[in-house]
Amino acid sequence: MTDFDSDKVSKIHSHLHSHLPSESALRVKALESLLVDKGLVESATIDAWVEAYSEEVGPKRGAHIVAKAWTDSEFKSRLMQDAVAAIDELGYLGKATAHLKVVENTDQIHNLVVCTLCSCYPFSILGIAPNWYKTAAYRSRAVRDPRGVLKEFDVKLDDDIEVRVWDSTAELRYLVLPQRPEATQGLSEDELAALVTRNSMIGTDRVLSASSGGAS
């Protein structure tokens, strides 16, 4: 039974610090071996989870949502009104997206998403978060120096564009809807999806190119 006792857990952490191997790979191997040995999981199940997030559950889902919003105005209005129902239409509702909100970039507004307290992210539509999203550098600076952060990502913003930073402090999650690139009138939904970068859906990319992309 879990005691919800902070002091008890601090002591456990202290023991682990002293007794676990220093190398992360060995720590994880010890955990997997023990769980398999106890019959709590099979290694093939873990393989399947890795495969799911490596092959299918990733930013290409987010890119599909964005491209559909660009090409289907009724879908877009549903997405802005009730993002959860809209992504459920595409079969993408899942881990950490039951309280999803979509925030739209415009000529006047740029949105940027962060989780300063941990690493909250809309996993079922963007997959595993990039490492930089989880670093102290990004988490500390995104709320205080968003323009400096964006400059590092080579996003240049005029002073008259409003920057909106969304700090994911509760169970709501945010997807940035980037602006459709210019000169893409004739492109299909699939071709447009290929232009959407992962970073543009977090807000660390802004002006998408009509000829290159995109989320893998």
Binding site: I12, G94, T169
Partner: protein, 218 residues
């Protein structure tokens, strides 16, 4: 808890690695621990308790060790705490008990269903009416509980405006202590100039999702 995890606005952490290769996992062990956390847990945990266990990692380890390493340590600590296995067993990497009956391994199609089933909802019906509506001015509380909270240090004691009301959600501070209670929750918008002494741009704003008990009327 005023811990090292509460990073918003801290300075001195340097530049961001903007050239990171875009792959889900940068090493095999990262994918293994991500996946273990998805499929092995103790039934009496809450998500907020797990987050709190991560916050309790030694501050130097928290900042210096790799991100997914902190997941391994959090998961190991929480599983020991819940009695799933012992410290001695994890050090040995071997079970001291007879294995439980195993289900057969799950296929990738099973996993897609599992990911869909992880669309956990945190909204609840409550009797209390919301104290605020969009447009209302608020001040965030200065009060800092010694345990898990989702009101970051940088946004305490600050003036803000209710941007949107989202109904009532399970309150993280209580959930991290094992009890479920729901409160109204709001997106609150803060002017960057009210948060940071050096902020210049009048247009920049920061939005946080905050429970009602974090707020006082302006």
């Amino acid at each position: 808890m005023d811990g090292v995890h509460d990073l918003g606005g801290r300075q001195g952490f340097g530049q961001i690695d903007v050239n990171e290769t875009e792959v889900p996992f940068h090493a095999d062990w990262e994918g293994r621990i991500w996946s273990i956390v998805q499929c092995v847990r103790s039934s009496d945990w809450t998500l907020d308790w797990w987050r709190h266990v991560r916050e309790l990692i030694d501050p130097i380890d928290y900042l210096a060790r790799p991100y997914f390493d902190s997941w391994a340590q959090t998961h190991i600590a929480a599983l020991i705490d819940s009695g799933t296995f012992t410290l001695e067993e994890i050090i040995a990497g071997k079970s001291a008990t007879v294995p439980v009956d195993q289900n057969s391994a799950r296929t990738i199609n099973d996993i897609f269903g599992d990911i869909e089933a992880q669309a956990y909802r945190f909204d609840r019906e409550i009797d209390a009416q919301p104290a605020y509506q969009a447009g209302d001015g608020i001040f965030t509380k200065q009060l800092l509980p010694g345990h898990h909270t989702r009101l970051p240090a940088y946004a305490r004691g600050k003036p803000g405006v209710i941007h949107a009301h989202h109904g009532a959600h399970v309150f993280a501070d209580a959930s991290a202590q094992g009890s479920e209670e729901a409160q109204h929750i709001y997106s609150v918008v803060f002017e960057a100039r009210d948060l940071w002494p050096e902020a210049q741009n009048k247009k920049d704003r920061v939005f946080l999702d905050l429970w009602e008990s974090y707020l006082d009327p302006a």
